[in-house]
């Protein structure tokens, strides 16, 4: 009998692996997958599922835990990266996705129904460097930055850098460029900025979460880039502001579109968002028009479907989630600054509110 039982077990195990292989083979089988998980998602109205960007994860964790204390609503957020979040939203395995970049055309058309972008917070990418014996803060112009990352400026005492940093003695060491090796929203913001300010960059490299870097070393994550910069004299790299502040890294003042040299800070990022934001909130803050805004800033969004009735979602579940998002862009904003994220500017909040009101359940608006 025992032996028979184990035979049955073995058979079961094989049936399961076989089944798993079949589903994984059928790449187009996302439809069946989404159906089963949509059922699951509809089951418990008190747990919201989300997935996406890693950049705002510390802030989201804090917000969700605070919101849970007051309302009892649980949010299960998986920080798997913006691309992964969008994919999960596309296959409807989560209630909301989160992304550091607005949906591009291809991603938009992959969605079965229109989605809404709601800005939650803003962050910045700072240029960190390691020049021993440099007392002053390095100043950089967009042109110089692009040329460094294109490999056209190779030494720190290049006249182009000296022209921006008058009276500062720069060493003759080689410049070592450090960039992210993993696909990331940080790289996306940075390359989007470079594409905007440099024609050369746009044609040779372009923008994206992973690009074909002309020079330099790749480090995994902020810590990888920071490690290269800290260890190598003459290195320059880009990291998130929060990471640079927490690790006492030196970072450069960037010249913005108005011509001012701006130190990245929470205030200057919020200022960067002080521009006319389109109604769909799909805006890149890079190279901002705002006179006191830091130019390499970006918003991060939560993405939800405009029509919340899909699968077997309940109206209550949709309402719970939207109320939570509404809280995030209002009361939740107090948790931004302590974690080195920039709170939304007033006009960004207004756009977010307007966007939330367009979301419907079975054709009727969810939030009044």
């Amino acid at each position: 009998m025992k032996a028979l039982k184990s035979l049955a077990l073995a058979g079961l195990a094989i049936a399961i692996t076989g089944g798993m292989m079949l589903t994984s083979c059928g790449g187009g089988g996302t439809a069946s997958k989404s159906d089963s998980t949509a059922n699951k998602a509809g089951g418990e109205d008190n747990t919201i599922l989300g997935a996406g960007a890693t950049f705002p994860n510390p802030l989201y964790s804090k917000m969700f835990s605070e919101y849970n204390k007051t309302t009892g609503l649980k949010v299960n957020y998986q920080s798997i990266g913006s691309g992964g979040g969008i994919q999960q939203l596309t296959s409807k395995t989560v209630d909301f996705g989160a992304s550091d970049a607005p949906l591009n055309g291809k991603q938009d058309s992959a969605l079965s129904a229109p989605a809404v972008h709601i800005p939650i917070t803003a962050g910045a990418v700072v240029i960190s460097y390691n020049i021993p014996d440099l007392k002053d803060t390095l100043k950089l112009t967009p042109d110089v930055l692009a040329k460094i990352f294109l490999g056209e400026i190779k030494k720190w005492n290049d006249p182009k850098i000296a022209a921006v940093n008058k009276g500062v003695k720069l060493p003759s060491t080689d410049i070592l460029v450090a960039h992210r090796s993993d696909g990331s929203g940080t790289s996306n913001i940075f390359t989007t900025y470079l594409s905007k300010v440099s024609k050369d960059w746009e044609t040779k490299v372009g923008k994206g979460s992973s690009v074909n870097w002309p020079v330099g070393l790749g480090g995994k994550g902020n810590e990888g880039v920071a490690g290269s910069v800290k260890q190598t004299p003459g290195a320059i790299g880009y990291v998130e502001l929060a990471y640079a502040i927490q690790n006492n890294m030196a970072f450069a003042k960037m010249q913005n579109k108005a011509g001012n040299f701006i130190t990245p800070s929470i205030a200057s990022i919020t200022a960067a968002a002080n521009i006319t934001i389109p109604a769909d909130a799909k805006v890149s803050l890079t190279n901002t028009e705002a006179a006191d805004g830091y130019p390499i800033s970006g918003l991060t969004w939560i993405l939800v479907y405009k029509e919340q009735k899909y699968g077997d979602r309940s109206a209550g579940r949709a309402a719970n989630m939207l109320k939570m998002i509404q809280w995030m862009i209002h009361d939740g904003q107090q948790y931004c600054a302590p974690l080195n994220y920039a709170p939304l500017s007033a006009n960004a909040v207004a756009i977010g509110d307007a966007q939330l009101k367009t979301i419907t359940y079975d054709g009727k608006p969810v939030l009044q």
Binding site: A3, L4, S6, L7, A10, G11, A13, I14, T17, G18, M21, S24, C25, G27, I80, G81, S82, G83, G84, I86, N104, K106, Q107, D174, L176, S181, D182, G183, S184, G185, V205, G206, K207, G208, S209, S210, V211, N212, W213, G216, L217, G218, G219, K220, G224, G227, S228, Q231, T232
Partner: protein, 330 residues
């Protein structure tokens, strides 16, 4: 189930006559009926056990085939888009959907074989020392366990250690020999990999050496051979195929290692100019870029990269098997 007893042999119609089970001949202790009953039960248990073995064994084969099929299926999009150019294309540009795997293929092979080259003296030394000089005793136990521990340490820890300790050392070494002092690169990754793969060849080599018949060695000693001569002309020739199998195991590990390599290789898509230059391996590109692969062709190209890695590993294993066979025939 029907069974017949003929001349102490139990035969069953469902078992081919070639596989006749000879029953134990103990007529004094067990009555014929009881023996028959027990034999029945035993036979059934034997059969069930055999079937489980067959099913589980085949499941592994099906699983590997399934992985292969999945990889091929998911990479069709990229295969259609890039064709054979994928294999020798020198540019990897996700923005323009140009995917060429050559720099990563080169990086993978360079780091793995360089690591193997560095590790072989160490793993052979450990194997011979533990197998021949100190097979027992606390020194040998300590060494054996330490070497095995090397295999048990998670690779991310090697990555950290490499980044914090090895990279600055390599950097100062590089500035002394006059190459660009970066520290991160193919050479550093090979060093890390070499350390990680020592235990595989060492453990297998040690047990092989311990299996050399002592009569062979004693014969050599009695003819006046020194220890070195015994090792060189008796032990090593006898264990050649086993040692080589250990090396192949190490190589397989080196080819697929991801985390530690990613942290110290420098991750650039440029073709490495020398062994000190930064590069990238197939495994680390997949690990780095998979999460944010934001359009279908890109994702498919990454999966095809996995397929190439899979095929390269299979090919190298097949060549290795051939060589081992050649050795054991001699």
């Amino acid at each position: 189930m029907e069974s017949l007893v003929k001349n102490d042999l139990i035969t069953r119609p469902d078992i081919s006559s070639g596989r006749v089970i000879k029953s134990v001949n103990t007529p004094d202790t067990l009555s014929t009926t009881k023996r028959l009953k027990r034999s029945h039960r035993h036979i059934r248990a034997e059969n069930v056990f055999r079937r489980i073995l067959i099913i589980v064994g085949w499941a592994t084969v099906v699983l590997v085939a399934g992985i292969m099929v999945t990889l091929i299926f998911q990479s069709t999009l990229s295969i259609k888009a890039s064709g054979f150019g994928y294999l020798w294309g020198k540019t990897w540009d996700p923005v323009r959907d140009i995917f060429g795997v050559y720099p990563f293929l080169l990086g993978t092979l360079l780091t793995s074989f360089l690591a193997l080259l560095i590790s072989i003296p160490f793993s052979f030394a450990v194997a011979i020392f533990l197998g021949e000089y100190y097979p027992t005793g606390w020194v040998s136990n300590l060494l054996k366990n330490t070497v095995e521990l090397i295999a048990a340490v998670p690779s991310v820890i090697y990555g950290f250690w490499g980044l914090a300790v090895l990279v600055p050392i390599v950097r100062s070494f590089e500035s002394k020999i006059g190459v660009e002092p970066v520290g991160l690169g193919i050479f550093t990754s090979s060093l890390i990999l070499a350390i990680m793969i020592v235990p595989y060849a060492a453990s297998l080599g040690r047990s092989m050496i311990q299996m050399v018949p002592s009569t062979l060695k004693e014969a050599a000693y009695s003819l006046g051979a020194t220890r070195w001569e015994v090792i060189r002309s008796v032990v090593l020739p006898y264990t050649k195929s086993g040692m080589f199998a250990g090396i192949m195991l190490s190589l397989g590990r080196a080819l697929g290692e991801t985390m530690a390599v990613t942290m110290v290789i420098g991750n650039t898509s440029l073709i490495p100019k020398n062994i000190f230059a930064p590069g990238n391996t197939m495994a680390s590109v997949i690990a780095n870029e998979f999460t944010e692969a934001d359009h279908p062709v890109y994702l498919s190209a990454l999966i095809e990269l996995g397929l190439v890695l899979f095929v390269v590993t299979v090919l190298i294993n097949m060549v290795g098997k051939r060589l081992i066979k050649g050795f054991s025939k001699e």
